[in-house]
Amino acid sequence: METKNIMIVGVGGQGTLLASRVLGRVLLTEGYDVKISEVHGMSQRGGSVVTYVRYGEKVYSPIIDPGQVDLLLAFEQLEAYRWLPYLKADGRMVVNTQKLSPMPVITGSQKYPAGLPEKLQEACEGVILMDALSLAKEAGNTKTANVVLLGRLAREMEISKEAWVTALREIVAPKFIQVNKKAFALGYQEN
């Protein structure tokens, strides 16, 4: 098979690393060669963060270049738009509609672009928008928005729901597993 490319983008502190860990675990148990790349350190401090996930028969580079992403998972609107050129023309993206203002917007030197969800839909046919924060609240903890999004991503992949829940159980601390399972289910069922 050709190597598949998934990219997870968001803002440092939003929990993208946990999402990539669960995804990596699932792909490993499904028997793929997997490479995951992320950057630690300074850029994690509220900056734009990116995780590359590649899987297939044999993966060489751990990095994904523009135009190569099959499936993009965006934790925030502006980040979705920033990384849009990485998506294949026929790729799909799951976008959390949450908005987080970056420092140039906070200081007033730039504006947070208006109407991004519509702009995303104009540029790409496979855009799936969701309010993960509300669903996370419904699950019982706003911090589980990352797992809600993972649930929605899971629906776009040909891997059984059970495999995802097993991976979740292996990665998440036992005392948080119930709320995370609920968050995953809410994301998975969202239309």
Binding site: I36, L78, L100, G108
Partner: protein, 594 residues
């Protein structure tokens, strides 16, 4: 399902590991006894993962030089030892390292150095491969996590075989990428017997002269070995194009060109395998050297008289991509991408101090007082970012202290009255102390702020000699900063909480005015520490908000101006630190449930 896929199969045999975790695993399996390092992105997790193995005595040293010396002592005593650092950390450790090439080793010594192409978390982009040549130390470079583990094990064995420390060069993309690794059992090793050998281990001129001869002979043996080892291997594809590459650049090239090229993959990058390179050059039509940063391999190929293409096609700056390699060598464009509307201006999202960060109050006050700030390396480097823009210089670990004094020496008393050095707790222990001693000894009057947040923050929360805990979380002696400053001879030492803005401002004014050296310990724990309890998010009352934007001056990511021109607080980020509340003249900010 194809044969190469076996559901559940991979988990039984293989684990998904970070390159750095695989390095630690390799050390564990090789029977390594001691790992000593100072944290530095992208090398930090090597030592963190080493500390998870009870068989390895892992530690955070105060700086890379001490770490290197502890590792040297450990191998001299007969136990396999390792140290890991980022590229700039090697500058600090270079002094013992260069002479360790002369003494050689008793038990194996592996020195890991992680470069940061693209400067994701660094102040420069230096290429650590130059160190291998200048220190006359052999260097291996893995290209994925499995190789990280395998190469560390080989490096330990080679280190003992050739009686020399071995360097392992990593990069951000190898250190911080996860790929599959087969794990094996640890091979427990007895200590190699310790012998007192003055001519080998006491490097005074008479002995060192003799050892230099040994070093040069060893380099010849290593060069011959580089031609023999299967770490340097040719993979034939189409022979029209030949590529020499190592590490992550090999993966990019392989991704870009597949079997449309042949490869000489180098696992041992110093000394280079001259015969293999010549044979490979002869077997292909066009030869490329693909290496990020400096033309280290390319220049050596040219010195052999070979015709190669390298830096005339590929940049000296930043990271490469497989797409760029494909474009340059095959002239092919990448796949068709989604196209954003070009009229949308996408604001950058630079890293910022976290919501609730204790450094915010400090830099707000420094800016308010209009002070010149010689800064340092850590989260607080972000005090230089707009809109605070409160830092004037950042060079390297510890530089801020010496530079503040230098400004005073050249600029005189007037400079001293408006300049402060700002340094973190861990960085102060690393190399700020010596600068402070210089200020006192040479009769300076500089003011040094030690931002004590009880942890090494930027690299992801490592304990240090000021935190009172070891790498494994065991309680230990804590450096007493007050006594330390007293012992150095600093008579003016103040302790303030950075959230108490008025007191902080008053103390800073007094201390810069004082005609003698002073230290201000600005104390409050990192907001991300698990034990720190936050009051919970604040809320803006829009009826009371007069849109004066005073609260915007602290550059908190949790507070911004809403569409209605009123300030608004993002409850997912706000910790309730109360800094914005203190600045609001209209009492518009309060508890969320109030």
């Amino acid at each position: 399902m194809p044969r190469w896929r076996q559901r559940g199969g991979n988990t039984l045999k293989k684990q998904l590991m970070l390159g750095n975790e695989a390095v630690a695993r390799g050390a564990y399996e090789a029977g390594c006894k001691v790992v000593s390092s100072y944290p530095g992105t992208p090398s930090t997790e090597i030592t963190e993962f080493s500390a998870k193995y009870s068989e390895i005595k892992a530690e955070w040293a105060p700086n890379e030089k001490v770490a290197m010396e502890v590792a040297l002592g450990a191998e001299l005593a007969g136990g396999r030892a390792m140290t890991a650092m980022k590229h700039v950390g090697m500058n600090v450790a270079a002094d013992p390292m260069f002479t360790a090439a002369y003494t050689g080793v008793n038990a194996g010594l592996v020195i890991c150095v992680a470069d940061d192409q693209g400067m994701h978390s660094s102040q420069n982009e230096q290429d650590s491969r130059h160190y291998a040549r200048s220190a006359k130390l052999p260097m291996l470079e893995p290209s994925d996590s499995q190789e990280c583990k395998d190469f560390v094990k080989k490096a330990f064995a080679f280190s003992e075989q050739f009686d020399t420390p071995f360097l392992l060069r990593l990069s951000t993309r190898v250190s911080h990428s996860q790929s599959l690794v087969s794990v094996e059992e640890r091979e427990e090793r007895d200590l190699r017997p310790y012998k007192k050998e003055i001519p080998k281990n006491v490097m005074m001129p008479a002995m060192a002269k003799g050892r230099h001869v040994v070093v040069e002979k060893r380099m010849e043996a290593l060069a011959a070995f580089s031609d023999e080892t299967d770490l340097n291997a040719i993979e034939y594809g189409d022979k029209k194009i030949g590529v020499i590459a190592a590490g992550i650049a090999y993966q990019y090239a392989k991704e870009a060109l597949g079997d449309r090229a042949s490869y000489l993959k180098l696992g041992m990058i110093y000394p280079l395998p001259e015969r293999k390179i010549r044979d490979f050059a002869e077997s292909v039509e066009i030869l490329y050297v693909i290496e990020e940063l400096d033309p280290v391999i390319e220049e050596q190929c040219r010195a052999m008289g070979l015709r190669v293409q390298g830096k005339e096609l590929f940049s000296l700056l930043g990271e490469y991509t497989s797409s760029a390699i494909r474009k340059v060598i095959l002239g092919e464009d990448g796949p068709k991408a989604c196209v954003p509307d070009p009229s949308v201006e996408v604001p950058m999202r630079p890293p910022v101090m976290c919501a609730g960060c204790p450094h915010r109050g400090t830099f707000y006050t420094l800016k308010k007082l209009g002070l010149t700030v010689t800064g340092d390396i850590g989260c607080y480097t972000l005090g230089a970012a707009a809109p605070l823009s409160a830092v004037d210089s950042v060079v390297c670990m510890g530089a801020g202290v010496g530079m503040a004094f230098g400004m005073e020496k050249a600029g005189g008393d007037e400079f001293a009255r408006k300049t402060v050095a700002v340094i973190g707790d861990s960085t102060f222990i690393h190399s700020g102390i010596t600068g402070l001693i210089d200020i006192v000894y040479n009769k300076g009057t500089s003011t040094v702020l030690i931002l004590d947040n009880s942890i090494t923050g930027m690299t992801g929360h490592q304990d240090n000699p000021l935190s009172g805990k070891t790498i494994t979380g065991e309680p230990t002696k804590q450096v007493d900063l007050l006594k330390l400053c007293d012992a150095i001879g600093v008579e003016r030492v103040r302790v303030v909480n950075p959230f108490h803005l008025e007191e902080l401002e008053r103390v800073l004014k007094e201390e810069v005015a004082a005609p003698e050296p002073s230290v201000v310990i600005v104390q409050s724990p990192c907001a991300l520490l698990k034990y720190v309890k936050h009051p919970g998010p604040l809320k803006v009352n829009p009826d009371q908000c007069k849109s004066c934007k005073r609260c915007m001056a602290i550059a908190c990511p949790a507070i911004s101006m809403g569409d209605d021109k009123k300030a608004v607080i993002d409850f997912t980020q706000c910790t309730g630190c109360g800094l914005c509340q203190k600045l609001c003249p209209f009492n518009a900010i309060g508890k969320e449930d109030a």
